[in-house]
């Protein structure tokens, strides 16, 4: 149990650092590859359409093809293999269990049996397809969206005419995840220094409750200060429009065209 606690600390740390590091790994990278030179809005749109098509596929062949395309995209975006594998493995443990149950819960032609329970061919096929779809989507998100600065994702949503308030909410959230992550880690260190260990008891739960509660209180006070800072700079209830979007270039057009072709092709092969 205490092991889980220590591990927990590690998970937390990785978690927050992960968010920040993920965001950070790209800013310094000036060598922009082709994927990164495409307009964020187009990338977001293409990613959404591609995922939509993939989810509607129902042939193994087409899904394998899609997996190949997604893998190529990951390579083109120069995302590391390690990240890709880690993300593919990060499927919710619970969902894996759901999938593992499928062959036994789907009626059909028996394929094999475990402890007397027959596993159906149809169930196994269904499970495989779901697993493929989930991973194709994860890889495509990694290739097209995770490869951009999250703040650019805000710009992309703005380009796609998502409501201004939503985009602002997104950008503000992004900004303060970093600040709070740091505050959270400082408090965790202070708790550790006073002998705190994650255990499975009331004292642990209450303490973590206090930790999150204190984080909340400080955060609310911070948000009050932010509004004050905004007022000091002439804020009068409406945000000035975000920076205007750059005009689309031939690259964007080419990328969009090629993607539409790929999606159509997949749909032709795989939707029966």
């Amino acid at each position: 149990m205490s092991l889980a606690g220590e591990q927990t600390g590690a998970v937390n740390e990785c978690g927050c650092d992960g968010a920040v590091a993920l965001a950070g790994s790209r800013s310094g990278d000036d060598r922009r590859n082709f994927v990164q030179s495409v307009d964020p809005g187009i990338r977001l749109l293409v990613c959404a359409v591609f995922c939509l098509v993939v989810v509607s596929l129902n042939s193994l062949a087409a899904l394998s093809l899609a997996l190949g395309i997604a893998a190529l995209a990951v390579a083109a975006a120069r995302q590391s293999l390690g990240t890709a594998l880690r993300r593919m493995a990060a499927l919710d443990g619970f969902m894996l269990m759901v999938l593992a149950m499928l062959p036994f819960s789907t009626p059909g032609e028996p394929l094999f049996s475990v402890a007397g329970l027959p596993a159906s061919r149809e169930g196994a096929l269904l499970g495989t397809m779901i697993l493929l779809k989930a991973n194709v989507v994860v890889l495509m998100i990694l290739a097209l969206l995770s490869s951009m600065e999250p703040a650019l994702l805000g710009r992309a949503m703005n380009r796609l005419r998502l409501p201004n308030k939503f985009v602002l909410l997104f950008l503000f959230t992004l900004r303060y995840i970093d600040v709070l992550g740091r505050e959270y880690r400082r408090l965790r260190v202070a708790m550790k220094a006073r002998g705190f260990r994650m255990r499975c008891d009331l004292h642990t739960w209450r303490s973590v409750g206090y930790l999150v509660g204190m984080l909340l209180v400080r955060s609310i006070e911070r948000s009050e200060r932010i509004v004050a800072a905004m007022r000091c700079r002439g804020f009068n209830g409406t945000f000035p429009a975000l920076t205007e979007n750059a005009p689309l270039s031939w690259r964007d057009g080419a990328f969009a065209g090629a993607s539409v072709g790929v999606c159509l092709g997949l749909a032709l092969v795989g939707i029966q």
Binding site: S27, D178, A229, M230, G234
Partner: protein, 221 residues
């Protein structure tokens, strides 16, 4: 004497009634003055600056700014534009995704066009030695860089008075030197809250101490 910019008379303020923070504080700022404000933690230095620009409403006393008496919320937007406040924590002040957007936020709110705002941003950043920072993501800056960008955001509004709340916390010695040079190169009147006497000695020409809810003139150390 040079013209009077800000005047607080008998100002009282309390966040909760039992523990008043300011109790009849008086203060006058003239053009050309660079006032160092010292005082123990929790004395109300930050509150004092906030009261001056109407972010905290005093329960008693009067505030005059730029020749007019200021009482209602409607009077203060103008004060906030003309008296730029640098917050104690730069993380509170930088809320736009990129440096350029953050610095341009003020000018855009003041009705400047996009092109003008971009030009002001470029000029202000260059002045603070932050050329090329335009597209940096604000939350990835170091503590010292955040401070300088926050200062740029304040200066971009071209204020007549600067209210600086602990401008040197989170600065390494090198950036602190730069901050001293920058402040000394600026023409504005300033109120500078700080615990760092060495720093204050390099920039201030008048000293004030905030204690027990009131301000009194002090010797330079």
């Amino acid at each position: 004497m040079s013209p009077e910019l800000l005047r607080l008379s008998g100002v009282s303020f309390a966040y909760d009634r039992e523990r008043p923070v300011l109790r009849g504080a008086d203060f006058v700022l003239h053009a050309g003055e660079r006032v160092a404000v010292t005082g123990p933690n929790g004395a109300g230095k930050t509150t004092f600056l906030h009261v001056m620009v109407g972010l905290a409403k005093p329960s008693a006393g009067t505030i005059e700014a730029f020749g007019k008496s200021r009482t209602s919320e409607g009077d203060f937007p103008e004060v906030r534009r003309r008296a730029g406040l640098l917050f104690q924590d730069a993380d509170d002040q930088l809320f736009c995704p990129t440096v350029a957007e953050d610095v341009a936020f003020g000018p855009l709110n003041l009705g400047k066009s996009r092109a003008e705002a971009r030009e002001i941003t470029r000029r202000t950043l260059a002045r603070l030695g932050l050329q090329g920072f335009e597209d940096r993501i604000t939350y990835k800056l170091s503590g010292g860089q955040k401070r300088l960008v926050a200062l740029a955001a304040v200066l971009a509004m071209e204020p007549e008075v600067l209210l600086l709340d602990e401008p040197t916390t989170a600065l390494d010695t090198e950036t602190e030197e730069r901050m001293v040079d920058i402040l000394n190169s600026l023409p504005q009147a300033m109120v500078i809250v700080s615990h760092d006497r060495d720093f204050l000695a390099k920039v201030a020409n008048r000293w004030v101490r905030l204690e027990n809810g009131a301000l009194r003139e002090a010797a330079s150390a």
